[in-house]
Symmetry: C2
Subunit: 420 residues, 2 copies
């Protein structure tokens, strides 16, 4: 049944049968005949500017990936590089129907600028390694003060100690204390690989998840990247925390990292959301691909095609991801009272013909290239696949002109060291 | 380095640095600036007309899938339905850059008509269940005589006993004998699930693969669908046979079927090719998606991101698939002497920006929607994403008008019974 969606300012006022809504004269109409309206896709854990170095670290181990490729290349990045990388990533995500992202990177003032221009919604975190010290954390607190609630409320900000394996417990405790002081949350990586958990048990006698609890990180709202290797005792800790877990299945498959115990997280009512991680590991920022992979991957892993049914898949993609963003009730549904973050998809591709089951088509047939129109916060960011807020040609030129310099890997220039 | 490809009739005459080839006046030029030329993608095992019933059997077990959904729905099919299903599937595949398919279905004369019109290359097999008897096999022999080598040689034909689990050993032996008599090959399903192998061991004391050997099926060239569960002794049999194995990872993941021991097949030099199976299990006919999944899936399964390196992935996708089709040296390479089956891909999408590693972009970034131009047998089938041989609108209408009737599932109407 065709429906109309009435939007006022940043919010959805009503959703009802086509033609049944009373509309004030002069109300703008966005054509959507035959299009499928879904909530804007949500990317709950990314490093957006890493699109700059995509496709440059393939077929290598996680240790090589960090120490021989990514961290040396990232040492080449300037603030301007990060700005153009963020522009590219935002443009790519809007084309992919993504309206909201939790980003974890550095030079984040420049990412915030790109978010402001793009019209997207974002939670921004300035990542800090332990060796960078308290002074750097204080700088990121200043970043938070500059940007929290800016861009018509589209930008929120969290603190970002990088991970338990790149910080000390004291450093984590210091970050937790500062987060409480300024009333913000924390976005952090945890338990990405089995060796990371082993290392934590050796060094500290506790799991990385337990470490987050003991250092007070879980005293504030958190977004956890990955968490593929919780131990049995971790589930209770995670269930009691105000937290959610970002899942990027393409990254995990490609890097032979294994897979998170999704079903156990769901059993414990621990929120799960979709994510792309950075394009250096995921190659693209395509949440629809992650949605399909999460569904198929879970069926594969459990040897049971009846699990992760279609309703559950979209529930994770939208409501689950909204919970991970701590924006439940605000985004993730096309419903009166919610923010007007909406993606409209074409359904007429041959690979979705005949039309018989829109939900199956959404999960298993459609591609991000079927995204036609994207709204965020009530504003149109793309219409008929034309980007309205960002300059695609300029972005392409700026990024292409930087790749040769950025892909250099000079000895001794890594931004950090991966220990396992 | 930009290159030109010179084509005469159905074959590639030369590939050389742009501008360096001597070309006769009046030679037609196909613009390809900035496009990536790859061999046409090859689909080594499909049931193309099943696009008619895509998205209609989701989240169910393999047994329910066969007995409660697919085989009842297939009992509704008329010859005309199959024709329009074939047209839809061919159009979808051409848009996806696929130029060659091994199809296994029924009413195959009508599929052959669609292949002839589409301009694609196909190996066509009329599937026969054991209960249909020798008379039906003889009818498919007549089909072979009508179509072998037709459509400028684009159509080849094989015999098609459905699978060891839907035929008796005597039936298989009879099919093998007839295949030898008319000098053709056999396309068959084998060892798709562990229960199928168990059933064979119980009933006959041997594996399905051994059954194929003992009944003489391997005395002729074969295409094997799936073969996820070979037992140890099967590898030697398969390596000695003139055979290849079609792999459809999306189908296997979605249906929780497990995964074939790809690495062991490669160790034994058993050819592996990519396939979509039918769209009723795979939802789409997208070989690029299968290529990406095969790579990621193998890395995941082995917990080793350094296996299935990019060169090997494209080797399987193109040369491997050509071997499975028994067309090695004819298709699967863009090289002088090969048939002119060529797919040209755009590389300018934001999700493949910056351009830094075309092979990584091909495998991990590009989508089938980036296919711009498709040639098969030296003829242009699609240019600038416009289909030149098939009528997309007519196909959409014909297929949509049939779906309600075809989706009916009436008791006692299944075309066969799945025993495990």
């Amino acid at each position: 049944m065709a429906q109309d969606i009435l939007i006022e300012d940043s919010r959805i006022l009503a959703v009802a049968k086509s033609g049944s809504l009373e509309v004030e004269p002069g109300t703008e109409t966005i054509p959507a005949d035959g299009l499928l309206a879904v909530p804007g896709f949500i990317n709950t854990h990314a490093h957006v500017p890493m699109v700059l170095i995509r496709n440059l670290a393939e077929d290598v181990t996680p240790t090589e990936w960090f120490n021989d490729y990514i961290w040396p290349m990232e040492s080449n990045l300037t603030e301007d590089d990060v700005y153009w990388g963020a522009q590219l990533g935002m443009a790519e995500m809007i084309e992919n129907g993504v309206t909201c992202v939790a980003d974890h990177y550095f030079y984040v003032d420049r990412i915030a600028e790109a978010v402001e221009q793009s019209g997207m919604r974002a939670n921004l975190t300035w990542a800090v390694f332990g060796h960078e010290g308290e002074e750097r954390v204080d700088q990121t607190v200043e970043f938070i003060k500059r940007w929290q609630g800016k861009a018509d409320g589209r930008i929120t900000t969290y603190l970002g100690p990088h991970a338990p394996y790149t910080t000390s417990p004291e450093f984590l405790a210091m970050c937790a204390r500062k987060a409480r002081q300024i009333n913000t949350g924390i976005h952090i990586h945890v338990s990405e690989t089995a060796p990371q958990v082993e290392l934590s048990l050796e060094q500290y006698g506790i799991t990385p998840v337990k470490q987050l609890q003991e250092t007070g990180i879980f005293d504030v709202p958190t977004i956890l990247g990955h968490c593929l290797y919780p131990r049995e005792g971790d589930f209770k800790i995670l269930a009691a925390a105000n937290t959610g877990i970002a899942q990027a299945p393409k990254t995990y498959m490609k890097h032979g990292m294994g897979m998170a115990p999704i079903e156990k997280y769901l059993e414990h009512s621990i929120p799960i959301g979709l994510a792309t991680d950075g394009a250096a590991s995921n190659n693209t920022l395509d949440i629809m691909e992650q949605m399909r992979l999460l569904a198929m991957f879970t069926k594969y892993k459990t040897s049971d095609p009846t699990v992760m049914k279609m309703g559950q898949v979209v529930d994770i993609a939208f409501r689950g991801s909204a919970k991970v963003m701590h924006l439940e009730g605000q985004i993730g549904e096309v419903k009166a009272g919610f923010l007007a973050d909406i993606t409209l998809l074409r359904q007429d591709a041959l690979y979705a013909t005949p039309k018989a089951n829109p939900l199956a088509a959404l999960i298993y047939c459609l591609r991000a290239s079927d995204v036609d129109t994207v709204l965020c916060n009530g504003k149109v960011l793309m219409q008929g696949r034309k980007l309205l807020t960002l300059d695609k040609e300029k972005i392409r030129q700026e990024v292409q002109s930087r790749v040769q310099r950025l892909s250099q890997r000079l000895p001794g220039t890594a931004i950090a060291y991966y220990p396992t």
